[in-house]
């Protein structure tokens, strides 16, 4: 029995069409469920079917901690993303119509992870030209504003967020791994919780005006400096998901990244994993 479920993330509507066994895996999306009557125009739709593999031409592959994503295409307009764990395929996402229509062809292995990856990719690509970006970041809220912590895997984004929660009263975790940010029509930036949060189950349907972005580096001391212009841009870009060799996507992402680097305070924090780092950061960036 097929069902269609609707969700709203960062004010973007999308839908997932699948059978019940797949729908049962979408628990982390529950806080983002939308009624059908609210549906309107979806940003994208994903259909899930059990008929992998898919033949395609490979363009590029990315390996991250045993998880491999292979990007390619079928025809000139259809993009393919294959997800593998330990060399074994979990599924093939075929994207059509400028990432508005996606079909995930499952292999039966790592179904949940293939589903989450597919929805993240479709969300990031389909929204790239609407002033929306999906960040790799931990984000906390304090006094009604969101503060994002960036850094390479293993730098301590989640640790620094936890230090705020433990040491700064009023802090809440909005998302631990993949928040979305949108530039609104009035030029302000808003950060949103999403159904994707890495290893921490923090799937909160919350949003806040973005108050600052902090790039973290490990150091034997705590020090924070403001980054401006190209320095701010260079800090932000590597933390944003996208397929930059697709020129249309790259243009859309660049526009958002440039707006963030221009209007949002961006900082570089050299830090220890201690309470002083959280206090220094908070006292500097949160007004």
């Amino acid at each position: 029995m097929k069902s269609t479920l609707y969700y709203i993330v960062a004010e973007h509507l999308f839908c997932v069409e699948s059978d019940e066994s797949i729908a049962a895996l979408l628990e982390n999306y529950e806080p983002f469920r939308a009624a059908f009557t609210e549906a309107g125009q979806a940003l994208f739709s994903l259909s899930v079917v059990n008929d992998g593999p898919v033949e395609y031409v490979e363009e590029w592959r990315q390996d991250e901690e045993g998880q491999e994503t292979v990007c390619g295409h079928i025809g000139p307009d259809d993009s393919v993303f294959e997800f593998r764990w330990g060399g074994r395929s979990a599924g093939w996402l075929v994207c059509e119509a400028g990432y508005r229509i996606g079909t995930l062809h499952l292999s039966g292995f790592q179904t949940k992870a293939a589903l989450d990856n597919s929805l993240m990719i479709l969300f990031a690509m389909a929204s790239a030209c609407t002033g929306t970006v999906l960040f790799h970041s931990a984000v906390v809220s304090l006094d009604g504003r969101g503060y994002m912590f960036l850094g390479k895997s293993g730098t301590g984004k989640s640790t620094h967020a936890r230090l705020w929660l433990q040491n700064i009263p009023g802090t809440e975790l909005m998302n631990d791994d993949n928040p979305a940010v949108r530039i609104k029509s009035d030029g302000t930036a808003v950060v949103y919780g999403t159904p994707w949060s890495g290893k921490t189950p923090c799937y909160r349907n919350v949003s806040a005006p973005l108050g600052g972005i902090v790039l973290l580096s490990q150091a034997p001391y705590n020090r924070i400096v403001r980054l401006k212009g190209i320095g701010a841009y260079a800090a932000v870009v590597p933390s944003i998901s996208g397929k930059r060799w697709d020129a249309r996507i790259a243009d859309g992402l660049h526009e958002t990244e440039n707006a963030l680097a221009t209007y949002i305070p961006v900082w570089h924090l050299d830090c220890l994993p201690d309470a002083d780092a959280a206090h220094l950061c908070k006292d500097t960036i949160a007004l």
Binding site: G229, I230, W245, A261
Partner: protein
């Protein structure tokens, strides 16, 4: 010479920056800041496709009030930076 595939001139916070975005340039991993003249030369080189130092120097003389010798020296210096950074071939 040619600008390698995948390199794009972007306006970042009001400055001209070369970034690697294409499949062939995705591992560039840095950003190259260009002054106004270098950015102008980049656009000309892009338009030309296959470009030479002499061709760019001539274009520079036509556009700006600069002597042919000075133009050629400037162009050669800019191209040598691009060559060093491997954004041209």
């Amino acid at each position: 010479m040619k600008i390698k595939k995948g390199f794009v001139l972007r306006q970042v916070c009001g400055e001209n920056v070369i970034v690697g975005e294409g499949l062939d340039a995705i591992d560039f991993g840095r950003m190259l800041c260009l002054n106004e003249t270098a950015a102008w030369l980049w656009k000309k080189a892009m338009e030309a496709g296959d470009f030479t130092a002499d061709g760019l120097a001539k274009a520079l003389c036509d556009e700006y009030d600069v002597s042919p010798d000075q133009a050629l020296a400037d162009v050669k210096e800019t191209i040598s930076q691009w060559t060093e950074l491997k954004v041209v071939e």
